[in-house]
């Protein structure tokens, strides 16, 4: 949807992921979208260099979020919300319906 603007489908996917779920790491995003880790990571690094997202280390993974200081954040999120309505139901649901609630350590399910 926004690929002509963002220059990359993976950039769009990474931003949509963050818009829907608030935070994420490249491998998790790549798995959700059926993309590759390296492609997703490259786009996230590019977005971070541009100040759109920020990251912090959590153990061995790098967790990304929208940069709350990005001056066009509200407008970007409006655009992403609009783009999301054009996604097929199945893709939208698979993104939105990911488990977000905590799971106690040691619990099998």
């Amino acid at each position: 949807m926004l690929e002509p603007l963002l220059g990359s489908q993976d950039a769009e996917r990474a931003l949509l992921y963050l818009y829907c779920l608030g935070e994420g790491y490249p491998r998790q995003m790549a798995r959700t979208w059926g993309s590759t880790f390296s492609a997703m990571q490259k786009q996230l690094e590019r977005l971070e260099a541009g100040g759109v997202v920020y990251s912090r280390r959590l153990g061995r993974t790098r967790l990304y979020r929208f940069n709350p200081k990005y001056p066009f954040l509200a407008e970007l999120q409006t655009l992403l919300a609009r783009a999301l309505t054009f996604y097929p139901d199945a893709e939208r649901q698979s993104l939105l319906m990911q488990r977000q609630r905590p799971r106690m350590a040691g619990k099998p399910l």
Binding site: A49, G50, G51, P68, K69, Y70, P71, L73, A74
Partner: protein, 192 residues
């Protein structure tokens, strides 16, 4: 011209900023080094964060910095004679979600440095406190207020615009106290 190894951080910033400007790249210093300058070295930053006023090809920036002896370290630059890192950020020049309107200029023997104003510097530090809960940045904002004239009414207006009215209210007294310290010092100097 002083050798790079003898330059203070501010002189190095002026040297780099002026050289980039002479190459057609208009940059403004932002970030922690502005705190170092405005707080009279009460806080020492290890890097120079420059933001171009308009988009600029990184290859052009890179070529300009290599001319004065800087070397690439990933997306950062460093001069072999200085421990200071140089980062050329992506525009726009903003404080929180607002564009920066006022650019200040300070003249050093190494060049003219263009940088964000003391008020925008304090706001920039407060943004890091608001959004990342970074208490070091709150202390840096306080240091800037304690050493330089900061428009706290403007900082409050901006905080409200950012949706951070309640957070500003929590730190307002501490900032006002810093402002009183500065005014008392200034009055004491005048009576000496």
């Amino acid at each position: 011209m002083k050798p790079v190894r003898e330059m203070t951080e501010a002189e190095l910033a002026a040297f780099v900023g002026q050289h980039l400007r002479e190459r057609g790249i208009r940059v403004v210093l932002s970030g922690g080094m502005c705190v170092t300058i405005y707080a009279r070295n009460a806080y020492v930053s290890g890097d120079l964060d420059f933001v171009p006023e308009v988009f600029v090809d990184r290859r052009k920036v890179s070529a300009a910095l290599l001319e004065i002896g800087f070397e690439h370290h990933g997306r950062l630059f460093k001069h072999p004679e200085s421990p200071v890192w140089v980062d050329i950020r992506t525009p726009p020049l903003a404080v929180g979600r607002e564009p920066v309107k006022q650019i200040c200029e300070l003249v050093f023997p190494t060049g003219t440095l263009r940088l964000i104003s003391p008020t925008d510097c304090a706001k920039d530090r407060l943004a890091n406190y608001y959004y990342f809960n970074d208490r070091q940045c709150l202390e840096q904002a306080r240091l800037v207020v304690e050493h330089t004239d900061v428009d706290l009414a403007e900082a409050e207006r901006w905080s409200v615009q950012e949706g951070q009215e309640a957070r500003f209210a929590q730190v307002k007294e501490s900032l006002l106290e810093a402002e009183r310290h500065r005014e008392q010092r200034s009055a004491a100097r005048q009576t000496e």
